[in-house]
Structures are given as C-alpha cells and as structure tokens.
C-alpha cells in the first residue's frame, strides 16, 4: 500500500481533531471576539477528569461523558465568571486573561491529578480494519474519531441553522445591541456559545489523548494546529475552520511522514506565517483586509 495513501488516512483522523479544535476557537471568536488561548488547556483538564473517572473503575463511556459534560460546564463558568467582566476591556487584556487561565489550568492539573505522564485508553481497537485480505491503516478508533467529530458538527449545524435557539445565538453574536432590543437574552446566548465550544474542545481532547500521552501541556500543540486551521479558514467561518483543520491534518501528516515527525510543529509555523503574509484574513474569509 502506498505511503501516500497511509498518510492520507492518518491525515483524515488528525484533521478531524484539529478541525474540532479550530471550530471551538471560531465559535468563541464569533460569539465574543476573543481567541480563547485556554481552549487547549481546558480540553486537557476535562481529559484529566475523564481519565480520573476511568482510573476509578468507571467504564470508558462514562469517562467520555464526564469529559464532554465537564467541558460544557467549564466553558459556561469561564465565560460567566471571568470573560463577561472584561467584555469591554481592550483586546490585549482579554488575551492575557485567557493566557492566565492557560497557565493556571496547566499548573492545576498536575497538582490535582499528580505529575506523572499517563496513557489514555482508546474506545475501540487501534488495530487497522481488514478489507478482504489486506489490512487498511484505518482502525475502528480512527473511524470513531472521525465519526464523532462529524456527528458533533452536524448537530451544531442543525442547531445553528434549523432551530430558534441557534438563530438567537447567531443574532447575539452578529449584533448584540439589536438582539437585546428584540428580547434575546444575549448574555445567556454567549454563555451557551462558550459552553458548546468548550464541549467541542473537550471532544478533541478525549479523542487525541490515546495517540498522544496525557500530560499538562499535551494540548498545546493541538491548540496551535487548531488555531492555524482556524486562521486558514479566516477565523470567522465555521465551515472554513473545519476545512482549515482538515487541511492542517493532511499537511502535518505529510510533513511528518516525508520529512520527520519532529518537523510537524515547524510545518505549522511555516503554514501559518505563509497564510498570514499572503492572505492575512484567511483563505475563506470574505471580510475586507484591514487598512492602515
């Protein structure tokens, strides 16, 4: 089987996870114009909660659920308690705030759960599927990873496009003042937006933890790749974020496969800088370029 085919299949799985991370960043950016640099750390923390549950004898699926629910709650709490008060502060302050949260969570995790590096169990076998006589480098767990990310995205799509709640959320992000006049509880919508984004981030954490090991900074790289994917997509577009995340997955597995896995992060840096230099507002953004 050709190397390219193997790498492409890996790229799909990795890309799905980066797409989830990118989508989480974009959802928060659209709702509150904040890049949540603590997104990775929050996902790390919820993954620790999941492994904590699993280590205490609960089945995998309970741990999985723990991660998602705690992600939902953590997102809501973070928005309500620390992001809401700085709503009108300079952008720099809000960025610093999320960085503080990153630092805090990455220090809190080893304090609460112990400093040793852990492994995280996959939900399904990680041995490649069999097609006839040959083995495909695509395991049931890869399928589950890809499938659950797609499922979550479809659910979000339905929520935002087909439901009243989704419409209110979009309206709040689009124009909070007018939405408020129309009787929408904008604050609640923003909290819900953060909560859902954080859930998507938590999903990315649980899904990637088996292939990485679990340690306090294990999501830093994923955050960077997700951010790069989000920028590729223009930060403003949910579809762009998903496409950007998938592109990152392919690009990085090719870089890793052909040039050496230690060059993956450099690859991300090169892609990010190249995109920002050529199209500062992303590949899919329709916004006008900022002028000075």
């Amino acid at each position: 089987m050709s190397r390219f085919f193997v790498l492409t299949l890996n790229g799909v799985t990795q890309g799905a996870i980066y797409a989830a991370m990118a989508l989480a960043l974009v959802m928060i950016w659209r709702a509150t114009k904040v890049i949540n640099f603590a997104q990775g750390a929050m996902a790390m923390f919820t993954t620790y909660l999941a492994v904590f549950a699993i280590e205490h004898g609960t089945p995998y699926w309970v741990g999985f659920l723990v991660a998602l629910v705690s992600g939902l709650l953590l997102g809501a709490i973070v928005e309500r308690v620390i992001v809401r008060p700085v709503e009108s502060a300079p952008a720099l302050n809000v960025v610093i705030l999320t960085l503080g949260l990153l630092l805090f969570l990455e220090a809190l995790a080893p304090m609460a759960f112990g400093g040793q590096i852990r492994s995280f169990p996959p939900a399904f076998s990680i041995v490649g599927l069999r097609l006839g006589t040959s083995q495909v480098p695509f395991s049931p767990f890869d399928l589950f990873t890809f499938g659950s990310v797609v499922a979550v995205m479809l659910l979000l799509l339905v929520l935002f496009q087909k439901t009243d709640l989704g419409l209110r959320m979009r309206a709040s992000a689009f124009n909070p003042e007018v939405s408020r006049l129309l009787g929408i509880r904008v604050g609640r919508m923003l909290t819900l937006g953060w909560a859902l984004a954080s859930l998507v981030g938590a999903l990315a954490g649980v899904l990637i933890a088996p292939s990485l090991l679990l340690y306090p900074t294990f999501m830093d790289d994923v955050l960077v790749f997700g951010f790069t994917g989000a920028v590729l997509g223009g930060l403003d577009s949910a579809v762009g974020a998903v496409v950007g995340g998938l592109l990152m997955g392919f690009a990085l597995t090719y870089v890793g496969g052909y040039f050496g896995s230690d060059l993956e992060t450099v690859g991300a840096l090169v892609i990010l800088i190249a995109v920002l230099m050529v199209r500062p507002s992303g590949l899919f953004s329709v916004q006008r370029v900022r002028q000075v």
């Binding site: 950016w29 890049i35 640099f37 620390i82 008060p85 700085v86 502060a89 952008a91 720099l92 302050n93 809000v94 960025v95 610093i96 705030l97 960085l99 503080g100 949260l101 990153l102 630092l103 805090f104 969570l105 990455e106 220090a107 809190l108 080893p110 304090m111 112990g114 400093g115 900074t217 830093d220 790289d221 955050l223 960077v224 951010f227 790069t228 920028v231 930060l235 230690d262 060059l263 992060t265 450099v266 991300a268 840096l269 990010l272 800088i273 920002l276 230099m277 500062p280 900022r290 000075v292």
Partner: protein, 364 residues
Amino acid sequence: MVAVQSRLDRLVRPTFGRHLLFALGAAVVLLLLSSQIGAYDDYNLTAVAIFAVAAAGLNLLTGLNGQLSLGHGALMAIGAYTASLLLKDHHQFPVIVVLLAAVLSTGVIGIGFGYAAARLRGPYLAGATLTLAVAIPLPQVATRYKSIFGGESGLTVAPSSPPDWLGADFPPERWLAWIAFAAAIVTMVLLANLLRGAPGRAFKAVRDNEAAAALAGINVARTQVLAFVVSAACAGLAGALLAYWTGVTAPAGFTLALSLQLITAIVIGGLGSLAGAVWGSLVLVFVPLLTSGMASRLSLPSSVADNLPLAIYGGILVIAMLVAPHGIQGALRRILAYGRARWGNTPGGGQKGVVDWDDPAPDT
C-alpha cells in the same frame, strides 16, 4: 556661554541627566546591598535583574507598542544559546563580548520576526507568536545536532570568574550579581531615554491609533519593527545572563511557561512601565521562594510544590485583568495621585480632593 549653559541644561536636566542620576543611585544602592547580603540572596537578586531586563523589553513591545509576544521565551533561548556556544570548549571571551554577541544575534533575528509581526494584528499576532513559542523545535534541534547544541542535557556554561583586583576570595555570586545589575541598569537607562524621545512617542501613538499615527507622519511598520528589535535584543541579553546564572543552557528551560511568566511580570508590575518590569520581576523570583518554603513546611507533595508558583501566576494574571489591569505601578501611581489630590501639593493644578480614577495611567 549662556547658549552653552542652556544647551547643557536642556541635555542634562529634563531626562537624560535624571535617568543617569537615578541609575547611579540604583547602582550605589545595589552595590551596597549586594555586599551586605549572603551569596544566596545575591543569587536571587541576579535573577530579578535578569527577568527585569527581559520584562522591560517585553513591556516596551506589549505595553507601549501594543504588540503581544508569546515568543519571548524563544528569543531568550536564542540569546542563551549564543552565549553558551561562544563559551563552549573553554573559550574565555570577556563577559561584555558574550553579552553583546547575544544582543546582536537576537536583534538580527528580531528584525525578521519584527517584519512578520508588523503585518499582524491582535489575535493573529498572539497566535503567530504562540506558534513560535510552541514550534521552535528546541528539543528536536538540540538532539538532532547534538554535537553542537548538546542534546536534551544542553550546554554547560563556564562561570565568569571575578577579576583579580577584587581579591581572591570575592564570591562569584556577587560578581555575577554585579554583571546582571550593570546590564539591567544600562538597559533601563537606554530604554528610558528611548521612550522619552521621539521613538517612545511613536510607539505609543501606533499603539493607540495606527491610522492617526500614520496621518501624523509616523511610519507605522518601521516603528513596530523597531519596537520588536529593541525588545528582542533585551530578551537576548537576558537569555545570555540566564545562561551564566543557571550554568547550563538546555531546551527544557525555555518552554511556553517562560514566555507566559514574562507576561505575568509585566502585567503584575504594570503594562507600559519600566519600573513595573522591576516589580514584576521581584514577584517572579520571590513567589517561588515563598511557595517552596511554604510547601516544605506543610510537606506538600512535589507535584503540588513545583506547580504552585505557575498556578499563582496564572491566577494573578486572571485576577489582575479583572480588577487591576494597570498592575503594581498603576496602583502606586493612583495612591500617589490620590495623596497629591487629597493633601494639596498638586503639581499640575487639578482640583483638590478630586481623583480621576479612570484616568489611564501615564506611561514610563
């Protein structure tokens, strides 16, 4: 004669002279202090001076020019590796040469980063520098070129021995402290002058309103590159000093957490203030000392003790942004302003007893 006198006045009295006097005063105090305290305290004060250099540079970039960099840890690594490579194989370069080489190498690299950064705004800039901090593949490069960079265990740095005229039993910790103090004071004076002059005003103008700055004839991009280069040079100097201080330069010393600690320092001290960089550096050095003392008294497990300072920094960053975005220096300034307004001697007029709490803190 009169003309010369007035020119001298203009040169000395308002700023440069004041900065020099302040620097001399600081130097005298630090010299006296360092000879009174023990080697351990000298060692810690050295760290304060090192962090102050890096934090002052970062504060110029972030506080005064509005460009947030999460990559200053990586720039410090470049300075530290420059110094360590020069001192490898027992080369005996004088300290000043090593430090200047580090300043030069990071300054040159800073030009490249500066050009890229000048095109980016807000979250894009923060994200790009975050990528830089995470993506600088220090462990991988160090391992791949092990013969040059020494792999994971890094390069050992020979300490700079005190000159003979100080006597044979002069403690090396105090000598290193003096070097760091000198570097910090020189940096502060140079930065203070830069900020008081046209470049400083240009930095702030660009931060506050790019369009207005451009209309006023300021070259926005060039100003931003200049700020980045100066800031990078400071980080390089601090990195080289750090190499002397730790005695070993290894990839593990330059993580994202280092960059975030520098941001903590400038936020705690006060964004946009050089004095704030010093306050912040004091916090960075003494919080871990306090917590490790506390941890050993309470016999906390090491996973808690090691991470307590970072948790505190993170908490401080969040709380500071919520309640005191101007930091220690901003709080001091408010107290002073309140005192002046409350008890009379207001220098610039202003109504007695009235304090404008919302007045953004003036810079420097």
